[in-house]
Symmetry: C2
Subunit: 366 residues, 2 copies
Amino acid sequence: MEPQFTPLIDSLPSTVPFVGPEALERKRNRPFRARLGANENGFGPAPSVIAAMQENAAEAWKYADPENFDLKRALAVHLGVAPGNVVVGEGVDMLLGLAVRQYVREGTPVVTSLGAYPTFNFHVAGFGGRLATVPYRDDREDLDGLLAAVKREQAPLVYFSNPDNPMGTWWEAAEIERFINALPKETMLVLDEAYGETAPATALPPVDISRPNVLRMRTFSKAYGLAGMRCGYAIGAEKQIGAFDKIRNHFGMNKLTQIAALAALKDQPYLKNVIARIIAGRERIAQIAAQNGLQAIASATNFVTIDCGRDGPYALAVLNALIDRDVFVRKPMAPVLDRCIRVSVGLDEELDYFAQQLPEALAAVK
Amino acid sequence: MEPQFTPLIDSLPSTVPFVGPEALERKRNRPFRARLGANENGFGPAPSVIAAMQENAAEAWKYADPENFDLKRALAVHLGVAPGNVVVGEGVDMLLGLAVRQYVREGTPVVTSLGAYPTFNFHVAGFGGRLATVPYRDDREDLDGLLAAVKREQAPLVYFSNPDNPMGTWWEAAEIERFINALPKETMLVLDEAYGETAPATALPPVDISRPNVLRMRTFSKAYGLAGMRCGYAIGAEKQIGAFDKIRNHFGMNKLTQIAALAALKDQPYLKNVIARIIAGRERIAQIAAQNGLQAIASATNFVTIDCGRDGPYALAVLNALIDRDVFVRKPMAPVLDRCIRVSVGLDEELDYFAQQLPEALAAVK
């Protein structure tokens, strides 16, 4: 005899949403020369943020304020809402898990796009939900298809990312508002805007906290360059935001992360500068693709998805050839999308290296 | 209409395990002069750890290795086990939540001591478990009582901390091994050793990863002085440790935390030095208590629980009088234990200030 897991836990597979680049480096026994696979932001956090972390490193013995009071207040001011409309968590990944837990139990149908964020799916599976997936249409998440699936399944939860990961595509705000208006009022929309800062302003609907069925999620991991510090936040109606307090890990936030996020939020000039560099990097990646006869898909994120022009196994071979050449990239896995590889914007020297290796990788695959 | 929470979420109260000192400071509109309430370690992390964080602050744009490979390997070497016997998480609080989720569903009986760690209880409630509590006996968790409750309830999960929080008391290893041997093999014991480093070596059973029904939890928050960085770990049999991978937030660890924890583990001379200072601090607190006619309970932790000699309301009044005098302390809340206040070891100047304020607080309460 030994302790018995719950039937749900017992039924879960031992899969992980992503393999980290460090695991690949250990397997290859060689470091990558270009780290362009995880949609990190190689420009890094602002010098003001790095300084704030360094100056406060000795404070690491203190638990962080469990209410995230200062950070929530600053975010609320930034967004033009009240602190009660914001919940801060250890990255969007954590907040997605908490959101799923609030609306999903065993057998609950949950709608998402086929090939969208695997970590959301991981949480749905982890709480026993049943995923109903909708294929992308023309490399975008299919808003009409998602809506139809929600209605068909009577799903209490639907996930939609704008801009989209892994394709980088986006919808304009008016389309999203139309989707929200058409959504059943009892269905919660998780609108993942992790890449919101790098999108055209026209892609983001105004923040509207009067809707109890929309949770918008944003992060310091992407444009702010703080993926390693784990800080995301959700914006919504007060009751729905307040419910996170019933189950979140109140002392889960990192003290230095609170300090870093506050400093990052204050340094909007740096953010603007980084966004300009990200946009330039996207153009560069698109050029590199074109120089190799490949088509880049227009992107509103900090990465560019490149259509390799053939099928999934071919794109996988290109990906592996790049990895063999010390370029860390990833790729979409769902059918049709899987003809692509996904390249994060990186430093100039990393993109130089990618530009140098891509033709060789393509030649090797031929 | 609005989105409906699951019935379980709907049923949960909006309580939090602890109010942070920052919330009290905001309420008082005045900072504390002695931060002695959260069992933090005011001696802080090692200079080598602070330096490692500072040197790597600019790396914060990278996600941490989701496998925690280097840290797990270092912990495994330190503990004399294999990496597969260790899971790293964002503090013991997080690992407790994951452990509860693995063994508890709605209605599952879970055994703990009445007045033991509230965050464990928070997680049990959060997953719908039913707490069966056992009163302390002579200010120690009652091993015989816990065992009887496990058998009576046929509980798949029991929580026991050694040394104990909030009383600071402990059992010797031989007693704990007797308890483990008597435990039904299908009952998982979470043995919380958050204060293990400050306990006498005789209080810690040898690490034995052959037992599938024991999960031992340890942390960098206490003796290592890294509460704000959120890093704990659990040690156990490979299958039970591996199950955490099914549900943990794989990219939840902070990059700087991995670096800090590795550096802290390497700097064992600093740890020894801090432990000596903690032991001296415990003696100092006991002296201060005695000078005021109060009895300190012998402690194996980084705090000392002081018997105020009367009932719960009296001890609460003492606590509030200390808080009024800018001394942040906490107290046990369960009957009988609630006659006490709990004072964390702090810097000499903080204990000086406590020594100065305690007589005034007692006088004010008289």
